[in-house]
Subunit: 265 residues, 2 copies
């Protein structure tokens, strides 16, 4: 099977032009099939402020009302997506930018919750793996924004981490798939304040150990636990490995000389 890299760009990376450009250059140079999934960073929030559209956050989650959906569609599927594609083209990497509505790439439904209405937030139902394969085999690199659709004409705002994971899972039957989460940190840190404390490899047994509370606290930063739980879910569903680390070190992440590798052992 051919290799496939599915790379999520963290929100902070989108806001940092230096980091973003470094990532784009390394992505362009990467051999093999490749997909970049991005969110929106702070740009959508800033645009909403300029337009006097109040942003509601409930439990740290943005409520996507109709006006906010327009903003994220403009910023994610328009400005950020096309800016990244144009930069890739300038590096000699022929890329195509897509939302989940394009080619019926990501089918989703409006989130159902017993007590809360998240607005136009989508949970993923299905990835159109055949369409992704057709484009990858051209060959084309894909740049995917986290705007999905419900097949009834409604666009939906969807979590970009989830989209990256669902795509990696869906493609793992056709490609030897590596899922990469890039962000502003060196990797999974034993001590969140100490960049040199990056854990190079985490298997299942070690992860269980890391999550065991010591003096009432798990040994790794609580914020990393959902990411790691998701990483193991991806591995259970056929993804070969999950890499977590700094965007500017994409090549080293893939070479295994930086960041954290999550493995099935």
């Amino acid at each position: 099977m051919d290799k496939l890299y599915v790379i999520k760009i963290g929100g902070n990376v989108i806001d940092d032009e230096f980091a973003l450009n470094a990532l784009i250059k390394q992505f362009a140079a990467l051999e093999g099939k490749k997909i970049l999934v991005h969110g929106g960073g702070k740009l959508a929030t800033r645009l909403a402020e300029k337009m006097d559209i109040p942003q509601q956050l409930v439990d740290g989650r943005r409520i996507t009302d109709a006006e906010t959906l327009k903003i994220v569609t403009m910023v994610y599927a328009g400005l950020i997506n096309k800016t990244i594609v144009a930069k890739l083209q300038s590096c000699g990497c022929n890329a195509v930018g897509l939302s989940g509505a394009d080619g019926d790439l990501v089918n989703a439904h409006k989130r159902q919750h017993p007590t809360m209405d998240f607005g136009y937030v989508g949970d993923v139902d299905r990835i159109n793996a055949a369409f992704v394969t057709t484009l990858l085999e051209q060959p084309l690199a894909l740049v995917i924004s986290p705007i999905t659709h419900d097949a009834k004409g409604q666009l939906l705002n969807t979590n970009a981490d989830t989209i990256a994971q669902e795509i990696a899972k869906a493609m793992s039957g056709s490609y030897e798939t590596t899922l990469i989460y890039t962000f502003e940190k060196e990797g999974v840190l034993l001590d969140v304040n100490e960049p040199s404390s990056v854990i190079p490899k985490i298997g299942r047994a070690y992860y269980k150990e890391l999550k065991e509370p010591v003096n009432g606290e798990s040994r790794i930063f609580a914020g990393m636990i959902p990411k790691l739980d998701n990483a193991f879910v991806a591995i259970d569903k056929g993804v070969k490995e999950v890499l977590i680390g700094k965007a500017e070190k994409l090549q080293e992440l893939i070479a295994g000389t930086a960041g954290t590798t999550i493995l099935n052992d």
Copy 2:
């Protein structure tokens, strides 16, 4: 050769939800290969106003400064493009929305002018016909926004009429191509104030006659002349016919029972 329809949606149609929905339904139902090219209507201007970005018009042309380029990329390549794609999906038409940067679809250069700087306005150099063919043969319908790129990382704002024409010309070697300009009027009118005065067919000889001044004025509305000149250029370059008419009457335009047909005779 298979038939291909390249359909430009006029700006006023984008602003009129009823007309847009009617066009989208008829486009979805259309048999054969098909491409929709759209501009942005008044949405980009309204967004610029909300964000206090002054819009400069010189001789009726919008100057695209860096902030305005961001706005048109958000509105054209993001909001309008993805809204149309999601609507098409809901009509059972599998469509993919693209800018000119995607798949290197439309290569352009920043407009050169001896005395004026139009800003980030692009003039088309090349259409990637092989990429268009690959997608059409899936089969997929294409929805194209008029944001192009210069292959050096710069996005450019480009005239949507021109993009429709360039694509129709580039594809006419591979498909029997009909180029359709839809707008809010019934077709080319002999009397601009009289919707029933639509001219059903215009060939070269008749066009020459129509342009001849009578009492110092051409017999057709001066605003139509550049569109008609362009139509004959397209026909010279291999496009089979050009149709001009009302967006809500797409099926009748194609059937030849409404609008104006520009022919090579």
